[in-house]
Amino acid sequence: MNDMLAAAAPDRQAVKSGSGLERVLAQGDFAVTAELGPPRGWHPDSVKRKAQLLKGWVHAANVTDNQAAVVRMSSIATGLIMIDEGLEPIVQMTCRDRNRLAMQSDLLGAAAHGVRNVLCLSGDHQSFGDHPGAKNVHDIDSIQMLAMLRAMRDEGRFQSGGEIAEGGPQFFIGAAENPFADPAAMRPYRLRKKAAAGAQFIQTQLIYDLARFREFMKKVVELGVHEKVSILAGVGPLKSPGMARYLREKVPGMSVPRSLDARLEGAAEGIDAGDKQALNRAWREEGKRICIELIREVREIEGVAGVHIMAIEWEQAVPEIVKAAGLMPGAPA
């Protein structure tokens, strides 16, 4: 166990959740997680396919909960398929779609089926999704959800204070943080609040702006938060200059330096604008290279305990990135 985690030990239970991710982090190994988006249907095949693609290349994979407020297969149900396929799920749960009763009941069920990692999120607003007229719940917020899960696990109590039969479910509890959202000065403190509420690991929003991330982490380390919670830096390969622009201009809370658009464009220099296939290939290769460089950079930042690779609808890129970045030495060839 390295110094960072030794310092955190009194705050944590010994690794007893049965989470592989928790074990990796407790050993002081650099953790690698990815993301698996459930299908917009009921067939399990795409989940199985994606799980096989990621299996062995990551320690665990997030399974999103109606991501972008679009209806998809339930994150817990998808997570169970992943377990069957031998890929450890990090089940995401948002505050948008469930009240405290539904959350606790679903989590008891998830625990019964072997889910050990849960990521607590506020959730994207329903106006972005496919049911903009839906009523949102937000009975509790993500920080209150963290505290609820911790009390379920450590005290064996429901949010009401009532006792959970035969003890609480053992979860490894996570949360997200966006270092690039505003108010910037509040972000490190909000991270500290999440750690205080019960978060044991954090996955950040996609990082493209290293300067701002370094600044954020400097403050996080100053506050000693990295000793309380394992921080996984969020990275992801860009697919095109258009994607870089889209993330910068259309996704709230994203910081994407313009130099990256230029790099992607530069990679496609000399390629005929009509040859879409060649363009895409060049952009994607450059996107992966940028991602690999970012992984190497964030790995050197104090307080970063792992990376969370978000290759949205591009899971195939994950093994290549992991291999090229020198992560997961024991991964399949």
């Binding site: 505050c95 948008r96 405290r100 506020s122 959730g123 994207d124 607003h125 106006s127 949102n136 937000h138 009975d139 509790i140 917020d141 993500s142 920080i143 209150q144 505290a147 609820m148 949010q159 997200a176 943080e177 966006n178 959202a181 505003d182 108010p183 000065a185 509040m186 403190y189 909000r190 500290r192 609040k193 205080a196 509420a197 929003q205 709230p252 809370g253």
Partner: protein, 230 residues
């Protein structure tokens, strides 16, 4: 104030399609102040309805009336004789006003001409903004006088979500992020430390979730009402 806006003429005309003689009743309080249900708006709606039905060859008589507050029996009672002469009453009051009329005059069709939007204020000329959702358990002391229940799209109690950018809400860039404002105010007042405390889950039983809400002030109740209850 309670802020409301008028339904479309088509929607209102549809409700009175089978009527020949209706009374449009405005309210002299909140909806007058937000220019939705005052004397002028009653006159405008009445004129539009008459014209529309005239063009369609099915004339509709629309009379106009005002009460000072549609949400109180004593004001609504002033209409008791008058309403007997109509097929229906179109209320230009808020949802409370419509229901007060419907409850007072059980034999009468009472129809809403407005959509009641929220409790709020005129934030600038011609713009009204929500400020309170009547959750029944005010926490404005903890949030610097800025309400995350009514002003945050996700009703967060422990800080802004990851979609707050440049002081704006991820839902719509025209909406200020409530938590950005709460943070700025706390910084200016030197009270950010208080925002570091974890706010526990809210008890929503005082909100709409608890069912019909009622406030009883025993000290204001008359002995006869108390007896009536026995």
């Amino acid at each position: 104030m309670i802020v409301a806006e008028r339904k479309t003429l088509e929607a209102i005309a549809g409700m009175v399609a089978g009527s020949r003689k209706v009374l449009a009743v405005g309210c002299g309080t909140c909806v007058t102040v937000c220019f939705s249900g005052g004397r002028q708006e009653v006159a405008a709606l009445a004129a539009s309805l008459r014209m529309k039905r005239g063009i369609e060859g099915k004339p509709l008589a629309v009379d106009e009336a005002m009460v000072q507050r549609q949400c109180e029996w004593e004001y609504v009672d002033t209409l008791a004789e008058q309403v007997k002469n109509y097929d229906a009453v179109i209320s230009l009051g808020c949802g409370v006003g419509v229901q007060t009329l419907a409850e007072r005059f059980p034999a009468l069709r009472v129809l809403p001409a407005l959509n009641t939007l929220f409790m709020g204020l005129p934030s600038e000329q011609g713009v009204w903004e929500e400020r309170c959702q009547a959750c029944g358990n005010c926490i404005l002391d903890k949030t610097g006088g800025i309400c995350p229940v009514s002003r945050c799209a996700k009703q967060l109690f422990n800080g802004p979500c990851g979609g707050s950018q440049n002081g704006r809400c991820e839902v719509d860039a025209s909406i200020p992020c409530a938590w950005h404002k709460i943070w700025e105010r706390a910084e200016a007042m030197g009270t950010v430390e208080a925002l570091m405390e974890i706010e526990p889950p809210k008890d929503w039983s005082t909100s709409r979730d608890g069912g019909l809400r009622r406030m009883v002030r025993q000290d204001l109740r008359s002995p006869s009402e108390e007896e009536g209850k026995e």
